[in-house]
Amino acid sequence: MSKATVLVRLKSEVLDPQGDAVKRALDKLGFDGVRGVRIGKLIEIDLGDAPVADPAALKERLAKMADEMLANPVIEDFEIVV
């Protein structure tokens, strides 16, 4: 089975209040040295059993999926791991 993973992260200039709240919780638990926490999404896409014929074309298709639906390019960046 082939599987693709799309990582979606808030752009660095976009404030992540959720990540900040988790950072403060880690501080309260006594974990030192946490300078910051950013929360994103991990999206796994099951591509079925057929072997991948054209990895470059697949990556391009996944990028299109990410651009049109999985990430919002206004506030998020994405990374594709095949």
Partner: protein, 230 residues
């Protein structure tokens, strides 16, 4: 005025949207998201608030692929009126009819209360510029964000329709319920400022028994604009 209220699964502010449109004299039709066309003669498309598709992935992200949205985009490009309230605003930004994005409230709280907003632009939905309106909000992801270029364009072209303010109309951080950049509560888009998206719920402040009629003023304004244009 013929209004089409577009419905997606998970919206919950459709009843008050329909009632308010009828109060200002509109003939209202509801349109399910699977329709590919708007009713003939539609002047105004309204997308109510709620939680379309349970806010899965991102608020409004799944709704943008509904077949009806292509017809809504064409209506907007022709200069037809489009109103998106709360989740409706999120849907309009997700599908690109309005710029920017609505993100998690700064303090992570779901804010459900009345706020004040100031009318900061002229446009078909706008009461007189400078007027202060009391309107309810109910959202967890209403912090408006946009790039510096988009913000400059919105300000330069008079497209910032509403800003959060205090009771006296002072726009400041203390009056900002969600951390929106520049206190932005609503913006105009479209070729003729014919598209309005806003986080507050004007349809929930549209008759005296609801605590006030400030919200109705936006609907009265667009009815007047429609009449003036015909």
């Amino acid at each position: 005025m013929q209004a089409a209220v577009v419905l997606f699964p998970g919206l919950n502010a459709d009843a008050e949207m329909i009632r308010t449109l009828e109060l200002v004299g509109a003939k209202v039709t509801t349109v399910w998201h699977t329709s590919a066309a708007l009713p003939a003669g539609t002047d105004l498309v309204a997308i109510p608030g709620g939680f379309s598709y349970g806010d899965y992935l991102r608020c409004g992200a799944i709704a943008k692929v509904g077949p009806i949205m292509k017809a809504v985009a064409e209506h907007a490009e022709r200069g037809g009126y489009v109103l998106g309230v709360c989740n409706g605003f999120q849907i309009l930004t997700e599908c690109g009819l309005l710029p920017g994005a609505l993100t998690r409230n700064l303090h992570l709280r779901f804010e459900c209360r009345d706020v004040f907003v100031k009318v900061t632009a002229d446009g078909p939905f706008s009461p007189p510029s400078g007027e202060v309106l009391r309107l309810p909000i109910a959202h967890g992801e209403g912090r408006y964000q946009a790039s510096a270029e988009v913000l400059a364009r919105l300000a330069g072209e008079g497209q910032v329709a509403l800003r959060y303010c205090d009771e006296r109309g002072a726009v400041g951080e203390d009056a900002n319920p969600n951390g929106s950049v520049d206190n932005i509560a609503g913006i105009y888009g479209g070729p003729k400022k014919n598209v309005l998206g806003l986080m507050p719920h004007p349809e929930r402040m549209s008759e005296a028994c609801l605590g006030g009629t400030n919200g109705r003023e936006l609907f009265d304004a667009v009815v007047r604009a429609r009449r003036a244009a015909s």
